[in-house]
Amino acid sequence: MKAVYFASVRERIGKSEEVVSPPPGVITAGDLVAWLAGLGETYAHAFDNPKIIRVAIDRHHVKHDALIAGAREIAFFPPMTGG
């Protein structure tokens, strides 16, 4: 699946998107955040406060307990500040 990053998450990881292949035990959006945080120093920094990270699956906001099965594009970003 494609992971996309925005704002401070994008800046800290140093890329705006990539294809990721999480292992079978990664079932929810929250699992995916935790797994990404373990990919290296930049990821650990991007997800150092996982509770505030927002997740969107195929461009819909979801909670951390949402299942990621079947997702094509999962986005990670801090709380929004538009408007």
Binding site: A7, A56, A75, G82
Partner: protein, 152 residues
């Protein structure tokens, strides 16, 4: 019922957008226009840079607009949100609502702004006037609380 949603880098003409909702109609009693502008924060801000999630931004705003239409009897809704760099004094976001009565137009405009603030995937980064690197603007708890008051 006209719904217009645009995400664009360029500026917008609030009056022209309001006119599009009312032209040729005689059943509209109230038009509320909200324009959000970039403040210079006492001179410390040189510009805001708005990052967004392109496809989702438009889809999410459409979902928010659909909720507003379901909740209030609206004759028209327009939402325009800019991305990229905007200078102090420049416009960032526009919401226009038209209805037979003022209460629906006012409430729908406030609802749209509260939801845009907390659900539309946009992020503001500051560019400081003194040349130092600005940070990402922090989300405000007050915006979350403002959105919560519309909970069904």
């Amino acid at each position: 019922m006209t719904t217009t949603i645009r995400i664009q880098a360029g500026d917008f003409d609030a009056a022209a957008e309001a006119r599009k909702l009312t032209d040729g109609r005689r059943d509209i009693g109230a038009v509320v226009t909200f324009a959000g502008l970039c403040r210079d924060e006492g001179g410390s801000l040189a510009a805001l840079e708005l990052e967004h999630y392109p496809q989702m931004a438009e889809e999410e705003i459409a979902r928010v607009a659909a909720r507003a239409r379901a909740r209030w009897p609206l004759a028209g809704v327009t939402v325009i949100h800019r991305h990229g760099k905007v200078a102090p004094g420049a416009q960032i976001v526009l919401v226009v609502t038209a209805s037979a009565h003022r209460t629906a137009a006012f409430e729908a405009a406030e609802f749209l702004m509260d939801y845009l603030k907390t659900r539309a995937p946009f992020w503001k980064k500051e560019h400081r006037a003194d040349g130092s690197e600005g940070g990402w603007v922090e989300a405000r708890d007050a915006d979350d609380r403002a959105a919560e008051r519309w909970a069904d």
